[in-house]
Symmetry: C2
Subunit: 230 residues, 2 copies
DNA sequence: ATCGTAGGCTTACTGTGTAAGCTTGTCAAG
DNA sequence: CTTGACAAGCTTACACAGTAAGCCTACGAT
């Protein structure tokens, strides 16, 4: 079957050539796969299948699987809302961290990825630069900036990880809590059972409130700033 | 080669039978493997090799690989220091969370495991019960207990994860920071470069301070308690 | 008309978790 | 002493994983 370049076959190839598969399309596919079926569902073979290509073809646009992971992590970082340096630092950071939390809740796999050992990409770097800038502009010295940033980021990733990796769905928290309260030995875990009962009877769902810890931290930082200004 | 039960062969088998491999030994081996070479180095085959047995033999004592992971996670939880309910709640929790942080730094793989989707084991449950108990005894209402606990745990796991997954060794932070400060485009990342320079010149290492955020949270909680008592 | 190149495919190798079934020493009951 | 159930371990096999190496073919510039 030698060269063949007329008619249908040609068109098919032309069409295939027209969108010759780029890095962005691969990463988009990987993100939606992870969103739908979890990060562990993202394999090179399935990813290739998703974009209509054999697994090995991906390696023309991507160097590694780690490269894919770093890529989708940085795409998610790109969804973060860069904090404004015009408005009050506290409001600005609060809004930004709240938005980041919501982004990470939309992509539950991303928190562990961003906190993993991968090198930060350009989007993450830009975000870091902005947060550090806001803190510095607010009047914190460099060491406190580092500390504050560490504390805020810890809360963001720690809380989100906790929220996304509960061993049950949040919507069915009351039922799970009720079952838990029944299953635990009462004399051994009175406090846990009390908590579980509260959750079971609450009608507004699981008491996961990102802002609680966030405001605790921001309050503390504001007070620290005020006492230093003295 | 029919039944043979005298002499050396018999002793060898007896010796092998004397320590017929139990769940605890397997988990201990898994923990030290993870400590030495990382969690991804813990495979069933290597684990079997470590305890002198074929991989499939492990399944007589362990139901799954997930069972192994849950097991080692709960062993680490067993190293946590249960907070005392006798002393001041703030001191008690501070000491306890500090100790937990140190435990997790000794077992860098454990943070992500404890925060994963696995069901909590008995040791973790006991720890949770104690922390919740201390908070409740301190005078927080149940909802605030849940919130406070969530914030403290977020800090613990978020911070530890951050500290254990830096893309470089903490001891060589100054060099890495210096290299980073040089590599980043100066006009684009002035603040990050300032931070990196500070780290590069600091002689007391990387400014990772678990207590900074922890005290921020505890201060906030204490104030909340005081204002409620009014 | 030729040829380098880029996008894609095929094949193959090693390493993973684990299902299924086999072998063999131990120990209690007859 | 025999027998047979049982538990610990081993062997084999399978369906996945990531990815190295090399081939095939249409496109674009010369």
């Amino acid at each position: 079957m030698p060269t063949r370049r007329a008619g249908i076959a040609r068109d098919a190839f032309t069409a295939r050539r027209r969108a010759p598969l780029n890095r962005g399309a691969i990463l988009e596919a990987a993100i939606s796969m992870a969103d739908e079926d979890g990060l562990e569902a993202v394999t090179m073979r399935r990813l290739g299948q998703r974009v209509g290509v054999e697994a090995m073809s991906l390696y023309k646009h991507v160097s590694d699987k780690d490269d894919v992971l770093a890529g989708i992590a940085d795409r998610v970082a790109g969804e973060f809302v860069i904090p404004s340096r015009e408005t009050d630092w506290r409001d600005s950071l609060r809004a930004s961290y709240l938005a980041a939390h919501q982004v990470l809740m939309r992509h539950p796999w991303a928190a562990s990825l961003l906190e993993s050992t991968l090198q930060p990409g350009p989007a993450r770097l830009a975000y870091l630069e902005a947060v550090v800038g806001v803190l510095h502009d607010a009047g914190f010295n460099l060491l406190d900036v580092a500390h504050a940033f560490g504390a805020l980021d810890s809360h963001l990733y720690g809380f989100t990880l906790q929220a996304t990796s509960l061993p049950f769905d949040v919507s069915e928290a009351p039922e799970t809590a009720a079952a838990l309260a029944e299953a635990l030995p009462p004399e051994q875990f009175p406090n846990l059972i009390a908590m579980a009962s509260m959750v079971a009877e609450a009608d507004d769902g699981y008491p996961l409130d990102f802002t609680f810890g966030l405001d605790l931290l921001l309050d503390g930082l504001a007070r620290r700033l005020a006492s230093q200004a003295t």
